[in-house]
Amino acid sequence: MSSIFEKEIEYRLNNISEDIKRYSELYFDLLDAVHQELKQQNITQADLAKSTGKYPSEIHKWFSGDHNFTLKSIIKLELALGCQLITIAIKEKAKASLEQTISKQGKVKSLNVEKSLNVGSVIDSNEVKIFPINFINMKSVSDNIKIA
């Protein structure tokens, strides 16, 4: 016998607000990204507690869903892991507009933001994408801006 609430649960799932859906997706994406980095770098949660100056119980809380990640806590994680966990995707349109504006100002002849943003990331919409990018391999945006 399956759940007697199956239809009701399905109805609820189909009516979850977009912000809750996005919160859930981002939370799991972040969790996957952090665990992938921990595994690759052979770091335990106890090591992470040391390097972030947090109590192990607090780190445990970060990974158990009791913690609502703030920018501060994400940055702490990024610094401890030495990798970027979050990138902000920019629409092509917005980038083109930026290029045009800078070009009009006559200060910059060429702006190659694309290259630096593409390191390990997928940028196809105006969304925040999460997965690790090693700082070592990442060129800063300023490296790609040529000043006239």
Binding site: S3, I4, R12, I16, F28, L31, G65, D66
Partner: protein, 167 residues
């Protein structure tokens, strides 16, 4: 002697969720807990709990061990989902494999330690007993009440008829 029946609760794309029904109950523990959540959780938090469990774990990512809180031997709790409610909720479960989870009931965690939430703690203790009984059947090669399809890379738990288990 107490007994319970183990059977499928909800089947999603990547994970089959099982639950148990105690001999004296009509509803499975997962259904009882769903009803509890409906009455005690803010609607957004219930939505998030279901989205995390059935969509992110059940449909998209599978029952990766990283998503569960290890509470006791054999027993875990699902990723919490507290946005608006006053207390975090714990849904007790037994992660059998990447594609199989047994859901028990759960409750609100009212203090840091489980012992500070007597109702939840007693449910953990009962779930541990049942989990041990389920594990014993799975480990017993002569007991074919629970079958594993070991041909696939990920083992598939197969229960075609409800299984009565004493504990």
């Amino acid at each position: 002697m107490n007994s319970f029946v183990l059977e499928k609760w909800i089947v999603r794309r990547k994970v089959t969720f099982f639950s148990v029904t105690l001999s004296e109950d009509e509803l499975s523990l997962a259904d009882q807990f769903y009803r509890f959540c409906e009455s005690n959780l803010v609607s957004q938090d219930l939505g998030l709990l279901l989205k995390n469990l059935l969509v992110e774990v059940g449909d998209i990512r599978g029952a990766n061990a990283n998503y569960f809180r290890e509470e006791y031997d054999l027993i875990s709790a699902l990723p919490n989902s507290k946005l608006k409610s006053n207390f975090p909720v714990r849904w007790i479960c037994m992660r059998l494999d990447y594609d199989s989870i047994v859901l028990f009931d759960g409750g609100l965690k009212l203090s840091k330690k489980n012992s500070g939430s007597p109702d939840l703690d007693s449910k953990y203790q009962r779930a541990i007993k049942m989990a041990k009984a389920i594990e014993a059947i799975m480990l017993d090669k002569d007991d074919n009440r629970i079958e594993w399809n070991t041909l696939s890379i990920v083992q598939t738990l197969s229960i075609n008829v409800p299984i009565k288990i004493n504990y």
